[in-house]
């Protein structure tokens, strides 16, 4: 499906790269529409699939952000759609910036805002959606591009400025967000993805898997050309792959505080896909970036614009018994799988803590770090099917999540931050253990 709601303002000098169309990835119509748009200053990408409930407010926030901060800039919204059946693409391309102007401000956009939608397939694949957005950016050569989550309920107009300005005016190549989140939201990020990324690559990036981020054309072009898009695994978890590519390529990375972020509508049942898209990709990146991460020790902060990560502390009921039961079931039932992955001493300790009652239960930081590193090496060595290794991590993560819940039940924001920091330091301290295992397995 291809629609364009606005007449192109001008068709200026354009770096026409018809290679993408020749390869058959972008449709001819889509390329034609992009060429007719001409060069732009700001590009906003939306990877959509059946987001009719939220997309209008997201697009309105983006348009409002353009009016507030980029009214003199040429801008385009690119909707990479996975075959929505609820009219999402229509809502994107038919949203008029004039409605936003009448409602929110008296500012006028001095340039036309283009909205183009392309259906890339019939089922969601975030990698392909991201490739579509990168390809559009490759053709339109914006000064800065951003990707926003189409199901966000907390997006604010000023997020656009916060993410794009550092790229367009301050020379950053990748700007990632930090948020105010509930202390028990995003436990996969705080207990696994952030500490592992930090220990491996030496940069304190709070949200390596971001649903909102901005990037430069330089980084986008390099990632587009170097990433192996035909590889099925490269199509998922592109956010983490993008972050790692920016680190490995020595690009300038920053993070910016956006504000409160509502938790996405994801349940514990989505843990395995989340693990695949985050830690699975991170483990996979270790092989191709061996020379980058093996030489790093410790970690450095990156430029943070605005406040650091914040935590909301309101009480929340969480089914701790279920977490403990699933951890115990995992340790008991997956023993044969863990024997292929974990060191005997680590497995023995896990069996030990699986026998503990909830009040005594503690999956220590050190044991968790050893577990994760042994999983990373098993993944590298492919001791069993790699996807099975990632799936086997899920029940153990539940055990670690339970420990985090118990440790921080009444903790202040500072104490939560301290616990996360201590875990990160534990990952950094035990990095030689990872290197030793890696060499042994080699």
């Amino acid at each position: 499906m291809l629609k364009e709601v606005s007449t192109p303002e001008r068709t200026g000098a354009l770096r026409t790269d018809a290679k993408l169309a020749e390869e058959g990835f972008l449709t001819d119509d889509f390329v034609r529409q992009l060429i007719s748009v001409g060069e732009i200053d700001i590009l906003v990408g939306l990877p959509t699939h059946n987001n009719a409930k939220t997309i209008s407010s997201v697009v309105a926030a983006i348009q409002s952000g353009i009016l507030q901060s980029f009214s003199r800039d040429r801008a385009a919204i690119i909707d990479a759609d996975a075959g929505s059946r609820d009219g999402t693409p229509d809502l994107v391309v038919s949203a008029s910036i004039d409605d936003v102007r009448r409602r929110d401000s008296n500012r006028f956009a001095l340039r036309t805002l283009h909205s183009i939608s392309m259906q890339y397939g019939s089922s969601p694949a975030r990698g392909i959606a991201f490739r579509t957005i990168l390809s559009a950016a490759e053709l339109l050569r914006p000064r800065a591009s951003a990707v926003f989550s189409p199901d966000s309920t907390s997006i604010q107009p000023d997020w656009l400025r916060s993410l794009l300005k550092p790229v367009s005016t301050e020379g950053f190549d990748l700007v990632l967000p930090t948020y105010t989140r509930h202390k028990f939201d995003g436990l996969l990020v705080t207990n696994l993805l952030y500490p592992v990324t930090r220990a491996l690559y030496g940069l304190r990036i709070r949200e390596p898997y971001a649903s909102e981020f901005a990037f430069s054309s330089r980084l986008g072009s390099q990632f587009l050309s170097e990433n192996s898009w035909n590889d099925e695994t490269a199509r998922e978890g592109c956010e983490v792959r993008f972050t790692v590519a920016a680190i490995a390529g020595g690009f300038r990375i920053g993070q910016v505080y956006l504000g409160a972020k509502d938790p996405l509508d994801r349940s514990a049942a989505d843990l395995v896909p989340a693990l695949r898209q985050t830690i699975g990709v991170l483990f996979g990146s270790m092989e191709s970036n061996l020379s980058v991460w093996t030489n790093k020790t410790g970690s450095q902060p990156i430029t943070t614009i605005g406040a650091d990560q914040q935590f909301a502390l309101e009480p929340r009921r969480i089914n701790r018994k279920r977490l403990l039961d699933m951890f115990r079931a995992g340790v008991a039932e997956l023993d044969s799988v863990f024997q292929s992955i974990l060191a005997p001493s680590t497995l023995a300790e896990l069996r030990g803590i699986a026998r503990l009652e909830e009040e005594d239960f503690r999956y220590s930081g050190e044991l968790w770090v050893k577990t994760v590193y042994e999983f990373a090496v098993a993944h590298h060595k492919a001791v069993i099917n790699r996807d099975h290794i990632i799936q086997a991590l899920a029940p153990l993560f539940r055990g670690r999540a339970l420990t985090f819940l118990l440790e921080n039940r009444t903790a202040s924001a500072a104490a939560v931050e301290e616990h996360i920091e201590n875990l990160c330091l534990e990952f950094e301290r035990l990095k030689p253990y990872l290197l030793e295992l890696w060499k042994d397995r080699e």
Binding site: Y209, R266, L275, R317, L323, G330, N385, P395
Partner: protein, 235 residues
């Protein structure tokens, strides 16, 4: 009389020598073929072993669960076993060629049958290996999915999947070899039917309450009645 005996003995000896002289070149050919065959078979063994190590066949075998079976039977690792199999198959083939060169009546038909059987044997072994690999993969996938889905009796589910695949593979193995294929087919039908019937009865009778709880749990969740406690949002 004595002269006759001597003459007959001499003639018999001459015939024997003649026959031996006629047979000797064939015997030498046999020995040469057998020796050359041994050398070639040994080289094939070394090549097979190198290739199998290169493709990490032992790890594949371990994943398939074949290594554990071999260890229990006090057999060498699978790459070593397979390279030895290559050696013996090749050398046996050369020995049979040599026997064929000896020209012993009646053996040639058996030898040609043996050579016709070889491809089927390899195909059957291949089916068995791939089948064990598939059984291991799918049983582990079932186990992980059941554990992460918080389903009851994950190991039972996993073992059931493995058992069904292994029974199926064994029936294919024997069918490929052509050994009592009718018997195997009937046996497979009986075993498969029995397993399915057993599972149905077990689930219907023994697991009535379990099924009820499971369905209630699912329906309650589907109706959104269980909203007292939040789930964790991993990302």
């Amino acid at each position: 009389m004595r002269e006759m005996i001597v003459s007959e003995l001499t003639r018999a000896m001459q015939e024997l020598v003649k026959d031996f002289a006629r047979f000797l070149p064939r015997l030498i050919v046999f020995v040469i073929i057998a020796f050359a065959g041994w050398v070639i078979a040994y080289l094939l063994k070394l090549i097979a072993r190198s290739i199998l190590r290169l493709i990490k066949f032992d790890k594949l075998s371990e994943n398939a669960g074949a290594s554990q079976l071999l260890a229990k039977a006090a057999l060498p690792p699978s790459s070593e076993l397979l390279s030895r199999l290559v050696f013996w198959m090749a050398w046996l083939g050369f020995i049979l060629l040599g026997i064929n060169a000896l020209g012993i009546f009646g053996l040639q038909e058996h030898i040609s049958r043996f050579f016709l059987f070889l491809p089927r044997l390899f195909a059957a072994l291949f089916i068995m290996f791939v089948g064990l690999l598939a059984a291991s993969f799918f049983s582990r996938a079932t186990l992980l999915a059941a554990v992460n889905g918080n389903l009851p009796s994950p190991r039972l589910l996993s073992i059931s999947v493995r058992a069904v695949i292994v029974v199926f593979v064994i029936s294919m193995f024997f069918e490929e070899l052509g050994i009592a294929d009718q018997t195997v087919l009937v046996a497979f039908g009986i075993v498969f039917g029995a397993v399915m019937l057993g599972l149905a009865i077990a689930f219907g009778a023994g697991g009535k309450e379990l099924a009820q709880r499971f369905l209630e749990h699912k329906l309650v969740h589907a109706n959104g009645d269980d909203k007292n406690e939040d789930e964790l949002s991993p990302l």
